[in-house]
Symmetry: C2
Subunit: 179 residues, 2 copies
């Protein structure tokens, strides 16, 4: 079954961005490659604010690198435009539908608010987190409070240059009866 | 010089305790021992709320396991009683004085509020964090917001049973001229 993978770089104090959305503290170690991760996914899902950041970083256009991209938004009308598909229904129904169609894994790119919605509905199957060795002191959390407890299993850990450590976890569902 | 080591177990979403102070989600892996860490310290420093939790867990008495123990409190009068010394002055002056006396490292046991005060004054030399593979969804954060950016270097990482990973970091001070 297609898995939903929440994958992001964070500060040591758990932030995906500074309060203004800046991610200057994150870095891509020279010995790290997103290649193996990208090979496992074909679909990207993000919140509207994360999409806006991606747009800004792309100079006004969105580069999905060949991934089918969905943007969750309460304010934007649903539908396909500019290389993405806007979605305004619940994560649960959306993921159920995606899982029924063939494909690779689904990358939940953030932000924290959408991650919380997905965690509320227990839709996150894997976590893939790169921790940079910096406390930034304030920012936008990867895991904002307000979802039930979720247990995971540590699958992998790997360190890279400049003290980045990547941790991969799989959701542990004791009574795995998900349809 | 004696180092201040902020050492704690946390959930994957960065909490040291549930909202009510409970730490039932933390566990001590069978293959993990605090021995090597305890061998490097002889002094414990904690906030008053953390002390209260330690008291409750000790059935009303505090067991410092032979460590000289200090409790930071704005409400309690300073002085030694019940196996600890209450302190109400600033962390900076306190640590400067401790560093001048001989001894091993100083364990900053928490909680998050005292950790923030120490980080504000840039008094944390090492982090020693055990991450359990559970998102608890809400709680008391190890790193509450409100201190300046602090860079660290990853010194060690080690995994234990049940998916606990221990990370050790040292503070990177580019212009290390601390007196």
């Amino acid at each position: 079954m297609r898995k939903v993978v929440l994958g992001l770089g964070i500060s040591l104090d758990g932030y995906i961005a500074r309060p203004d959305g800046a991610v200057d503290f994150l870095f891509m170690p020279k010995d790290y490659s997103m290649g193996p991760f990208f090979a496992t996914i074909d679909t990207a899902v993000m919140g509207r604010k994360t999409y806006d950041v991606a747009l800004r970083m792309g100079g006004g256009s969105y580069d999905g690198s060949g991934m089918v991209s969905y943007v969750f938004s309460h304010s934007q009308p649903p539908g396909e435009r500019g290389g993405v598909t806007f979605v305004n229904h619940s994560p649960r129904g959306f993921v159920e539908k995606l899982r029924k169609s063939p494909g690779k894994n689904i990358w939940l790119m953030g932000g924290g608010e959408l991650a919380r919605d997905f965690l509320k509905d227990d839709l996150v199957d894997e976590l893939y987190i790169g921790i940079v060795p910096i406390l930034i002191g304030e920012g936008l959390p990867l895991f904002p409070s307000g979802f039930p407890q979720r247990e995971f299993t540590l699958l992998e850990h790997k360190t890279f240059s400049k003290g980045m450590i990547a941790l991969k976890y799989a959701r542990t569902r004791p009574n795995a009866k998900r349809k």
